[in-house]
Amino acid sequence: MTGSALQPYSRPPLEADRTPEARGLARDEVRLLVSTATEEVDRSFLDLPDLLRPGDLLVVNESATLPASLPASGPDGPFVLNLSTEFGPGLWLAEPRWSESRPGPLPLPDGTPVEVAGTRATVVARYPGIPRLAFLRFEAEVERLLADHGRPIRYGYLREEPPLAAYQTAFARVPGSVEMPSAGRPFSPRVLARLEARGVSLARVVLHCGVSSLEEGDDVTGAPPVLPEPYAVPSETVEAVARARRTGGRVVAVGTTVVRALATAEDGGALRASRGFTRRYVAPPATIGSVDGLLTGFHAARTTHLALLSAVAGEARIRRAYRRAAEAGYLWHEFGDVHLILPGTAPPG
């Protein structure tokens, strides 16, 4: 299945061009579309605890967002350097762009020295098959550079420039993502307290999101190139999933990153603790044994996210839910509304 096969809506969706806070809402007051195998229901994110059952397990991504966009200049003048993924100390996969709104590739051959926020870095290699991306070696400490000069990577549909804090979820603990794992964003202390009171538990994984993939799928397999991203699934989470399974609870992934991390850590259907880098592409007909449900945002139609959603819930159901979401005015993208995909046909709560 290619991304273009999933153009599900009759009208273009509304984009969230500001944070919920700028729209006069608390983080946890965004809309929630609940979809089961048979129907869609409009709720608020505040209703989440009532939609889950005692014994259910939410698996969240603890990755925190970095201010990964840096000012840079090269032989052809200034440009914007969006970091994507740290491969090792001082070595980053990055996306040089002409500007925030104008992507590359830039003419930066291997070996080109560039200046990044006043320090020196060198382009060491292009990413194979993706000319807009390159590996860069930094001479300065990148953590320091980001703290002093970095800004969150921002896309064209945003009308404001939210501060870094707007990009951190309640679960953010391990810095490393350059795009927010946004499904966790609506969680607030009051919702977490009500989830706990309800008997819903939490387990944690890490997957550091790199820059979005824009590349089209391969003509033969339909699989787009997926960039390698650091992930970790700890043994506590493997045990929590097993416990939920044993006691009849449902495992609900908070975000597509969590599905990818769990899918990566599955071997022959069995989940086991592991960490490293993943470029797992999750799409039908693959199924993910560790995941029953998914809480996620609304994503651009031509993305790997939609293929992943279809692997969780089936393409027809995702198509139907997206059509409904667009018609009902749900907001798309990282500061928009959210979508809870639950297994089975039982009408939610």
């Binding site: 491969f87 090792g88 194979p128 070696r137 880098f277 470029r279 797992r280």
Partner: protein, 244 residues
């Protein structure tokens, strides 16, 4: 990944073309001083010249990895230079082309396959152990999916790589107390001269160029060596998992 001052050094065998040249280039761009070997002096010198043009310090020594004389010469040079951080045993012998089935495999040819793919990598580790130990170095043995699958025709090459995989795993355990790490890497199908020799006359243009493995090498070379030692990695797989 190593801390401390002084240049980091790497030895790459079979560096004149294909995967070996790609690995050499990744190391050069990462600031390693390189000692490269391959049988073909001309192509080897061309790779060395290109990397020198990119600012790297490169010594090229032409010869056969199975030749004890070459090994001794390189060993001497490396020991004089100091610690060795990375040894890449990449040079490999495919065997006769087209690939013969095992029942008809000419044994003298199989002997050559094993000498290059099994005995030589071990001999290079033995030869370079002291400089590797003094750098807490990493040994990378280039393997193949033929080592695990049992493809018809690939029994000679594949069984030699299976032996190499077990050497790698055992060496990782034996050398851990010396601080030397050992991994085995299956690069996956690549559009290389060796792969073409395995499929003479066939179109292999659907296989990716060896540069497709660059992100994997960037990952592997920047892991803490002890965290990957004993691992067998597939460079084109969708998961690169640390061992511990």
């Amino acid at each position: 990944m190593t801390a401390g001052g002084g240049p980091r050094r790497a030895v790459v065998t079979g560096a004149s073309r294909g995967l070996g040249a790609v690995i050499a280039r990744v190391l050069a761009d990462d600031g390693y001083e390189l000692l490269l070997t391959a049988r073909g002096a001309g192509p080897l010198e061309a790779v060395a010249a290109e990397l020198r043009g990119r600012g790297a310090t490169v010594t090229a020594v032409a010869g056969d990895v199975a030749d004890p004389g070459l090994r001794a010469r390189v060993g001497e040079t490396v020991r004089q230079a100091g610690p060795l951080h990375v040894l890449v045993n990449n040079a490999s012998e495919l065997g006769p082309s087209p690939l013969p089935p095992l029942a008809q495999y000419p044994l003298p040819e199989l002997d050559r396959v094993y000498r290059v793919n099994v005995f030589a990598p071990l001999a290079w580790v033995q030869e370079l152990l002291e400089p590797l130990a003094s750098a807490n170095g990493l040994v990378v043995n280039v393997s193949s999916d033929a080592a695990v699958v049992g493809y018809p025709g690939w029994g000679g090459y594949g069984s030699s790589k299976a032996a190499l995989d077990l050497l790698s795993k055992t060496l990782a355990n034996e050398l851990a107390p010396r601080g030397v790490s050992v991994v085995s890497v299956d690069p996956g199908d690549l559009r290389t001269a060796m792969h073409q020799a395995a499929f003479p006359g066939e179109d292999i243009s659907d296989r990716p160029l060896p540069s497709v493995t660059v992100p994997f090498w960037q990952w592997l070379l920047h892991q803490e060596h002890g965290a990957v030692s004993g691992g067998r990695f597939r460079a084109q797989a969708d998961r690169w998992e640390v061992v511990r």
